[in-house]
C-alpha cells in the first residue's frame, strides 16, 4: 500500500520583489516498510521537502502540490488540527541540528517523557511515575547511551553533539511511528556509533515495519540498505529509482558525478589520482539557471538544455535529462 504519495511538490519563497522556487515539482512515493533515501548537496532542498511533509515550514514558504497523500488522505486539504493529529501520531522526524532543536530550558528526561505515547495504566501516580521512568530509560539504552543517570538529568547544552543526536533519535522512535524522516541523523557521530544507529534503524524497519525516509549527502552510508534513491539537484529531482539500478546504471550526469566522487565505487582509480568532479559550484537560489539547473556545469549540455527536461520513466527508474547516459558504469 502506498504510504506516502507526493506528486509535483513545489515550494516557493516569496520575497518582496521575486519568487524563488526552492523545490521544483518533485514527486516521491513510499510504500509501507520501505527505506528511501533523498540525496543531494546542501541547499538542494532536501530538508525543505522533509519539513513540508511534516508541515513545520513557516508562513513565508508557499507550498503547492498536485497531491500529497498519506495513506489515501490528502494532507494539503486537511485543517491544521487534523493534519497535526495525523502527523503527530504516525510521522516522526529527526532534525538536522540536534543541539539547537532540543528545548534548552528543559532537562532531557522531561523532553523524552513528553513524547511518550499515553498508556492507560491503572495505578497510583507513584507507580505511573516509575513506569514512565523505566520507559524513558529503556528508550535511551536502545539508542546506545550508557550512563542514563547523567544524561537524563542534564540540559542539552551540557551534552555533546553526538549524545544530543542520540536523544533526538530516541524521541523520534518513542511512538514507533509509521514513517520516520531522518534528516542527516549521523553527521555528528563517529563511525562506530554511526554503524550502531544504522543497525537500530535497520532493525526498526525490519521488525516494526517502519518506513524510513533518509536524508543524507553521503551516498555510501545508505547504499546497502535502502530500497530506493532520489537524487536532487538544486530543488529538481534529477533521478529516482531502485538503489541497485541507480548505482549500476546512472542515467543523469549529476548522479554519475556523485557516484564517481566516491573512492569506493570508482574502481581502477590509482592512488592519489584526482577524482572526477563537475566544474563550478552549485548556484545560489537567487541565480538559478533556466531549464535544466545542472546546465552550466554539465559536460553533456547542449542547446536543448535551456528547456526543463521532462521526467522519463523506465521500469520504475525515472530521470530528467535530454541526453541521458546510456552506457553502464564499470
Amino acid at each position: 500500500m502506498q504510504l506516502l504519495d507526493i506528486r509535483n511538490l513545489t515550494i516557493e519563497l516569496r520575497t518582496s520583489d521575486t519568487v524563488i522556487r526552492a523545490v521544483d515539482r518533485v514527486s516521491l512515493s513510499l510504500k509501507e516498510g520501505e527505506v528511501h533515501a533523498l540525496v543531494g548537496e546542501s541547499g538542494s532542498g532536501k530538508s525543505l521537502i522533509a519539513k513540508a511533509i511534516v508541515g513545520v515550514l513557516n508562513e513565508r514558504w508557499h507550498i503547492t502540490a498536485d497531491r500529497m497523500h498519506w495513506r489515501g488522505v490528502d494532507l494539503m486539504r486537511l485543517s491544521s488540527q487534523q493534519r497535526r493529529k495525523i502527523v503527530g501520531q504516525d510521522i516522526a522526524m529527526i532534525y538536522q541540528d540536534p543541539s539547537r532543536c532540543l528545548d534548552p530550558t528543559a532537562k532531557i528526561f522531561d523532553q523524552i517523557a513528553e513524547t511518550l505515547p499515553a498508556v492507560h495504566s491503572s495505578g497510583f501516580f507513584l507507580k505511573r511515575n516509575r513506569e514512565r521512568k523505566d520507559r524513558v530509560k529503556a528508550l535511551i539504552h536502545k539508542v546506545g547511551i550508557k550512563d542514563h543517570e547523567k544524561v537524563l538529568t542534564s540540559y542539552p547544552h551540557e551534552l555533546s553533539e553526538g549524545v544530543c543526536q542520540k536523544v533526538m533519535i530516541a524521541m523520534a522512535i518513542a511512538r514507533t511511528p509509521k514513517l520516520l524522516i531522518a534528516d542527516e541523523p549521523t553527521t555528528a557521530l563517529e563511525s562506530t556509533t554511526r554503524a550502531q544507529v544504522f543497525r537500530l534503524l535497520k532493525s526498526l524497519n525490519q521488525l516494526k515495519n517502519m518506513s524510513i525516509l533518509m536524508i543524507s549527502h553521503e551516498l555510501e552510508e545508505i547504499v546497502d540498505w535502502s530500497h530506493g534513491i532520489h537524487v536532487l539537484y538544486c530543488g529538481q529531482m534529477v533521478e529516482a529509482g531502485p538503489t541497485q539500478r541507480i548505482f549500476s546504471h546512472p542515467r543523469h550526469p549529476y548522479t554519475q558525478a556523485l557516484l564517481k566522487s566516491l573512492p569506493d565505487y570508482e574502481h581502477g582509480l590509482a592512488h592519489k589520482e584526482p577524482f572526477y568532479a563537475l566544474k563550478g559550484t552549485i548556484p545560489t537560489l537567487q541565480h538559478l539557471p533556466i531549464g535544466c539547473r545542472l546546465g552550466p556545469r554539465c559536460p553533456q549540455a547542449q542547446k536543448a538544455c535551456v528547456v526543463t527536461p521532462p521526467s522519463t520513466k523506465q521500469h520504475g527508474h525515472s530521470y530528467a535529462c535530454h541526453f541521458p547516459l546510456i552506457k553502464a558504469m564499470k
Binding site: 548537496e41 562506530t192 554503524a195 555510501e220 573512492p263 592512488h271 577524482f275 572526477y276
Partner: protein, 253 residues
C-alpha cells in the same frame, strides 16, 4: 635522509578537578612518535576522544606539549613545551571554515594580516603574494574584496586553504576539514590538495573519519586510541592487514 617532520615522544595531559582541592591528571597523548616525508600525507584516525584534535593543535602550535620534541627539517621547533614562536611552517585548516574566518574582514585584509604579522615584506610584495595565492587555490583576484558571507561552502574552504598556504608552509594540518563538505565539493577540494602536493611538494596531516578517502590520498596511517598509537605504518599495509583490535573495529563498520 632527514625526514621533514619528526615527532618524538610527545605527551600531553590536562588537569581536571577531581574534588574541591585535589586535582586529577588526565593524559590525552602518551608517547607519540612518527615521521613525515616531504610530499607525503599522513592520516590520523581514531574514535572521538582519542586525542586526534589535540595532536593536531600541538603540531600547529595552538597548544604546547608537556614533554617531547618536534623537529622540522632537522631543526627543533618544540622542546618539552617550549615552542619556537614561528608559526609559518606548519599551518592548520579547521573543520568549520565559515566559523573560523572573521566575518568583519575582507579576504584580502585577512590574508594581508597573516603576512604583516609573520613576514617583513613590503606592501607591493604583499599584494602580489595575495594575488598569487588566490590564483593558486582557484579563486579570482577580485575575491579579495569579498567578505566571508559572500562565498559558498566550497569557496570558503578554498579561502581557508589560501590562508594556510600564503606563508609557504611545509606542512598543512587538516582537522576534519573535508568531512563537512558535500561530495562534489569534497572531490574538488581533494583534487586541489593533490595538485598542490604534486606541484609544490606540500605535506599534509589529515584527520578524518572518512576511511575510503584516507585510503585514497594518504601514504602513512596512524591509528590512535586513548592517546596512544596502536598502529602505525604504510596505509596500504594497514588496510590489507590491520593488526590491532581497534583498527579492525574501525574498518568493519
Amino acid at each position: 635522509m632527514q625526514p621533514l617532520l619528526k615527532v618524538q615522544a610527545l605527551s600531553k595531559s590536562f588537569n581536571l578537578r577531581a574534588s574541591l582541592f585535589s586535582r586529577k591528571q588526565f593524559s590525552v597523548l602518551k608517547n607519540i612518535s612518527f615521521c613525515l616525508e616531504k610530499g607525503e600525507t599522513l592520516a590520523i584516525i581514531g574514535e572521538t576522544g582519542s586525542g586526534k584534535s589535540t595532536l593536531a593543535k600541538l603540531l600547529a602550535g595552538a597548544g604546547t606539549a608537556d614533554s617531547g620534541q618536534i623537529y622540522l627539517d632537522g631543526n627543533i621547533i618544540e622542546d618539552n613545551g617550549v615552542r619556537d614562536t614561528q608559526c609559518r611552517h606548519i599551518r592548520m585548516i579547521f573543520q568549520d571554515s565559515e566559523a573560523s574566518l572573521n566575518p568583519g574582514l575582507t579576504i584580502g585584509d585577512m590574508l594581508d594580516d597573516c603576512l604583516q604579522y609573520n613576514t617583513s615584506l613590503d606592501k607591493e610584495t604583499r599584494v602580489e603574494k595575495i594575488k598569487v595565492t588566490l590564483a593558486k587555490v582557484g579563486l579570482l583576484n577580485d575575491h579579495q574584496h569579498y567578505y566571508p558571507h559572500m562565498f559558498s561552502g566550497g569557496q570558503l574552504q578554498r579561502v581557508a586553504l589560501a590562508r594556510a598556504l600564503i606563508l609557504d608552509p611545509k606542512v598543512v594540518v587538516l582537522d576534519e576539514a573535508l568531512s563537512s563538505l558535500d561530495p562534489s565539493v569534497r572531490a574538488q577540494t581533494v583534487n586541489l590538495l593533490l595538485k598542490l602536493q604534486q606541484e609544490t611538494g606540500l605535506s599534509y596531516i589529515l584527520i578524518t573519519h572518512h576511511l575510503s578517502l584516507v585510503r585514497h590520498i594518504s601514504d602513512q596511517l596512524v591509528v590512535l586510541e586513548h592517546g596512544e598509537i596502536v598502529e602505525y605504518g604504510r596505509t596500504e599495509d594497514v588496510f590489507q592487514a590491520p593488526k590491532s583490535r581497534v583498527t579492525q573495529k574501525l574498518f568493519n563498520c
